[in-house]
């Protein structure tokens, strides 16, 4: 079938090429039909020794081998008094060495081969990833499984890592964007595992035994899904992985309860003082999960509101019309197992902070009040339909997408049905979900900036900021102690 597509395309290209008119405007262009069917996860699903699941694709285009272990574990599963354990684990799974190899021996060897081995701890999923040339597949795979199964968490590298992470805490309040996203989430989710931050004391408390216990609990074959792509034969790879994972023990992990309810913060303005020349702003509230049936309509709605870059209303109004900002828009973030956030965002010079916020709030209101235009719907829906194949450009990231679907329990036909669900979204549905998921009256408006000029405003929107709602000033915490910094 692939060949016929190419043939049709070729014919069309050649016709176009032979001078059948030079278009002056995109509306004059006629495109040949392009049919694309996404790959089916079932065709790549396999299982190895001990029930270790995997999505595997042979891809012989380059002499490369890529493998990622997606582990169901992350910062959310870290005990309260050990905040930062995830960060330390992220560093020490490799640097702490294995039962038979020093961490630096592993790193030096991978480096000598021109490969890469990295471990990243996320909110609920973590990934160990290896990339090597095909000729080094056996050696790379052996190191990969050794790190995955047998980490040793040696004392010396652990001590160093903790000291370095404590030092890096000093920078936690330097970057206004970092401060804003941290404090915004803290306000929306409250004080729980989602927003807990490491301090010097919690870093200091992390021991090698803690890391080993955490690893033993979650790094089991049933709690891991592999994503593999590259230059190999599936059967040969199975034999190798079965052998390496043969002694890997452990059943299903028991997971701690996730935060289930969140405080509803008082709407209004929350201000964090920082002597900079712009206000960094987020405004919104909690959103929804991507497993919600409204997900598709919300995607289209947000594309029109502020997610579709220059085609979106917030960008057109705030940036293009008014020249108030470089970076602005709206977004729904999605998280596994609980709602993400909805936020409008912008960074603008101090004197136009109030004005930019008022324009974004007006767009929140408008998309709830009025049906969107046909042209807006067409652009949004076509964007998702026409760019769909992009998701599958890399065989390794395709395998990762499938592994993620399975790990987070989303339907395995997610990609197969994606386009028809997007196509089914109507203008009425867009307005319905705007009313359901955007609540200007319940929004918190958080600003990081220099209070006096922000509060004063400018010609188009003179202050004070409490015109936007009750004003509260938030003090930052000392990242070393987690205690409030007393402003002089």
């Amino acid at each position: 079938m692939k060949k016929t597509i190419i043939a049709v395309l070729l014919l069309a290209f050649v016709c176009a090429g032979l001078g059948l008119g030079q278009a002056k405007h995109p509306s004059e262009l006629k495109y040949p039909v392009l049919k694309y069917d996404p790959p089916d996860p079932k065709a790549f699903r396999t299982a190895y020794a001990g029930g270790l699941r995997a999505y595997v694709q042979e891809d012989r285009s380059l002499p490369l081998f890529n493998i990622t272990a997606l582990v169901n574990c992350g910062d959310l599963y870290v005990p309260k008094d050990k905040a930062g354990l995830g960060t330390v684990l992220g560093d020490q799974l490799i640097k702490g060495g294995t039962k038979t190899r020093e961490g630096s021996t592993i790193e030096d060897r991978i480096d000598f081969l021109g490969g890469s081995l990295s471990f990243n701890v996320g909110e609920r999923t973590s990934t160990l990833s290896l990339s090597v040339l095909t000729k080094d597949l056996d050696e790379g795979l052996a190191l990969f499984f050794d790190v995955l199964m047998n980490p040793a968490f040696r004392e010396e590298p652990l001590k160093l890592a903790k000291a370095r992470f404590v030092e890096q805490l000093r920078q936690a309040n330097d970057n206004p964007g970092g401060v804003l996203s941290r404090e915004y989430e803290k306000l929306l989710y409250g004080d729980n595992a989602l927003t807990r931050r490491a301090t010097k004391a919690t870093y200091d408390s992390v021991t090698a035994a803690d890391l080993a216990a955490f690893h033993a609990k979650f790094f089991t074959p049933k709690n891991v899904i592999l994503a593999v792509a590259g230059d190999f034969a599936k059967a040969g790879l199975k034999a190798k992985i079965d052998k390496l994972a043969a002694g890997w023990k452990g059943g299903a992990a028991a997971f701690p309860a996730l935060p289930a309810s969140f405080p509803a913060p008082e709407p209004g303005v929350y201000f964090i003082q920082k002597a900079i020349n712009q206000g960094y702003i987020s405004l919104g509230h909690l959103g929804l999960q991507d497993t919600n049936p409204d997900y598709y309509a919300v995607q289209i709605m947000n594309f029109i509101l502020g997610g579709g870059s220059f085609t979106s209303r917030i960008t057109t109004k705030v940036r293009s019309d008014e020249g108030l900002s470089y970076n602005q828009g709206s977004r729904f973030s999605y998280r596994w197992g609980f709602p993400g956030t909805f936020s409008g965002y912008v960074q603008t010079k101090s004197s136009t902070v109030g004005y930019a916020i008022s324009l974004i709030l007006a767009e929140f209101d408008r998309i709830r009040r009025e049906p969107v235009a046909d042209a807006e719907m067409e652009t949004a829906i076509n964007y998702y339909l026409e760019s769909f194949a992009d998701i599958f450009q890399s065989s390794q990231s395709t395998m990762m997408s499938f592994a993620n679907l399975e790990m987070t329990g989303r339907p395995m036909d997610f990609y197969k049905t994606f386009r028809s669900r997007i196509e089914a979204v109507t203008k009425a549905r867009v307005q319905e979900v705007a009313q359901k998921y955007i609540h200007p009256d319940k929004s918190v408006i958080m600003i990081v900036g220099d209070f006096e000029p922000c509060n004063k405003g400018g010609d188009k929107w003179p202050g004070p900021l409490d015109k936007l709602g009750q004003l509260r000033k938030i003090s930052l915490t000392d990242p070393m102690t987690g205690l409030e910094i007393k402003t002089p």
Binding site: P26, S61, P63, L64, L160, Y326, E386
Partner: protein, 505 residues
């Protein structure tokens, strides 16, 4: 509009060029249009998408004092429409736009040319401008080009300006490459810089975003002090004064000089037939007249003859930076300097041009971070650039142990002196070569990354330089390492910048 139909012997016009590195092939098909514009193609059958990039040999080094930042401002304005895009009635709209320019010209003279301009006059003119902008808005189709790309499935949609190049990017479904050829050729010929004044406000906000990154101002001063004479002296974003005072005339002149086909390379990577791409390129890009030849940059960096030192304080981490002048890309010493950076420590950065590597395996990490425990981070990078290069060491001291940037400076000099005498180990050199080869193979996997690397490389030294650089890397010996260390790592060729976190912030 000229109407020319070109019938081509397509197959004959495509030069297939194969180049080998190890057992991996970089296969780039080349076609040069009569106007000098080069079309590069890397077919990758599979998912029906095509990465479409255009690169121009122009960046902030092509500016001069007074118009710094204009390459980047111009890149923004390329999205503001043409005679056919972004406008409903060009004839009517262009009259309004011309009047806005005339009034803004008066305002700029009154405001920027005089010590005490007439505020009342300025206000009156500004009022008229505001009214005209409202009228003009009725004719403007906002972000038309962007919308056309997006509704046709364009992803990776962006543009960027560096010191040396400007690129325009989109990835499209395989059946829609013609859209890119049409719109990109149209804006090369017919760009009209509408909304110039509000877009400058946007760019000033972009600059402020940089300014609010911890340590930005000091970093900008450090670069300006290091590159004293060459146009690498200013940042791509430009000085705020120039952004304020730049005129549309400045931009039009800039466009006419640099946005000519003989200064451009278009590259396509993905699932397509090269003959079809060539036919479309002839049709759309082929219609643009050739421009005058462009002179390379005149001013390099004169020898310093003395060490430079800069001290700063502010709201960012205490840190050390040491910089050394090195020769530009393509010089015989570039490969050895790259190996040195990679072996000493990670850092690299520099959009693929810098060569570094190592992280936990770099010498500086092992010595300063792991064994002596006096640094939080320590890295090295080599950035040859097109005309003048820099080699950098960056390190953050362990403040908790009372370590000062000057302590790390001494340690790095000790390491450098050791290398001058002993060079590196054979294993370290071999590792750097292995990494170079593996990185090359890996770079072929990402279509967008490949387009960027091959397209940019082609502008200056030809895309084959990617392969000859790899060959050069394989030839480096320990004597080369000792020689380049002795040549470039000397005080009179250096700038040392010491930044201290100001108390209370």
């Amino acid at each position: 509009m000229k109407k020319r139909i070109l019938v081509l012997a397509l197959a004959a016009s495509v030069l297939a060029a194969f180049a080998l590195a190890g057992d991996v092939t970089l296969d780039v098909k080349e076609h040069v249009l009569a106007n000098g514009m080069k079309i590069l193609m890397i077919p990758k059958p599979g998912v029906p998408r095509v990465v479409c990039h255009i690169y121009f040999q122009v960046g902030s080094i092509n500016e001069r004092p007074g118009i710094t930042g204009s390459a980047h401002v111009h890149e923004h304005l390329m999205f503001k429409g043409t005679e056919v895009m972004g406008v409903t009635d060009y004839a009517a709209e262009s009259k309004i736009d011309a009047r806005i320019d005339e009034l803004m010209g008066k305002i700029y003279r009154e405001r920027f040319w005089k010590d005490a301009g007439d505020a009342a006059k300025i206000a009156a003119w500004q009022k008229e401008v505001d009214e005209l902008v409202k009228v003009q808005k009725a004719y403007i189709i906002k972000d038309d080009l962007w919308t056309q790309y997006m509704k046709n499935g364009g992803t990776g949609l962006n543009a960027s300006t560096s010191q040396e190049t400007t690129g325009y990017y989109v990835t499209l479904p395989s059946n829609k490459v013609e859209l890119q050829m049409l719109m990109e050729s149209d804006r090369m010929m017919n760009a009209r810089f509408r909304e110039f004044y509000s877009e400058k406000d946007v760019i000033m906000e972009e600059r402020r975003l940089s300014e609010n990154q911890p340590g930005y101002f000091f970093g900008e001063q450090v670069d300006a002090a290091f590159f004293a004479a060459s146009p690498y002296h200013w940042d791509v974003i430009g000085w705020m004064d120039d952004l304020k005072k730049m005129t549309k005339e400045d931009l039009v002149a800039f466009h006419d000089t640099f946005y000519v086909p003989n200064n451009a390379v278009a590259i396509y990577v993905g699932d397509f037939d090269p003959a079809a791409i060539v036919a479309m390129a002839e049709k759309y890009f082929g219609r643009i007249p050739k421009g005058p030849d462009l002179e390379p940059i005149r001013t390099g960096e004169p020898p310093q003859y003395s060490e430079k030192r800069l001290y700063g304080e502010g709201p960012a981490a205490t840190s050390l930076r040491m910089m050394f002048h090195i020769p530009p890309d393509g010089h015989a010493d570039t490969a050895a300097l790259g190996i040195l950076a990679g072996t000493l420590g990670s850092g690299g950065g520099g959009g693929g041009r810098g060569m570094g590597g190592g992280g936990g395996t770099g010498r500086l990490y092992k010595t300063l971070v792991r064994d002596k425990q006096i640094a939080v981070n320590a890295s090295a990078s080599s950035r040859p650039q097109w005309y003048v290069g820099s080699f950098q060491f960056n390190a953050t001291p362990r403040v908790d142990k009372g370590v000062k940037p000057e302590d790390l400076e001494k340690e790095i000099w000790a390491e450098v002196e050791k290398i001058k005498k002993e060079g590196l180990t054979e294993e370290e050199i071999q590792k750097a070569k292995n990494k170079g080869e593996a990185a090359f193979t890996r770079s072929l996997a990402s279509s967008a990354g490949l387009a960027s690397r091959v397209g940019r490389a082609d502008l200056k030294r030809g895309w084959r330089s990617i392969l000859t650089d790899l060959d050069d890397l394989k030839k480096v010996t320990n004597d080369d390492i000792k020689r380049v260390a002795a040549t470039y790592f000397v005080k009179d060729n250096s700038l040392t910048a010491i930044y201290t976190r100001k108390s209370g912030r």
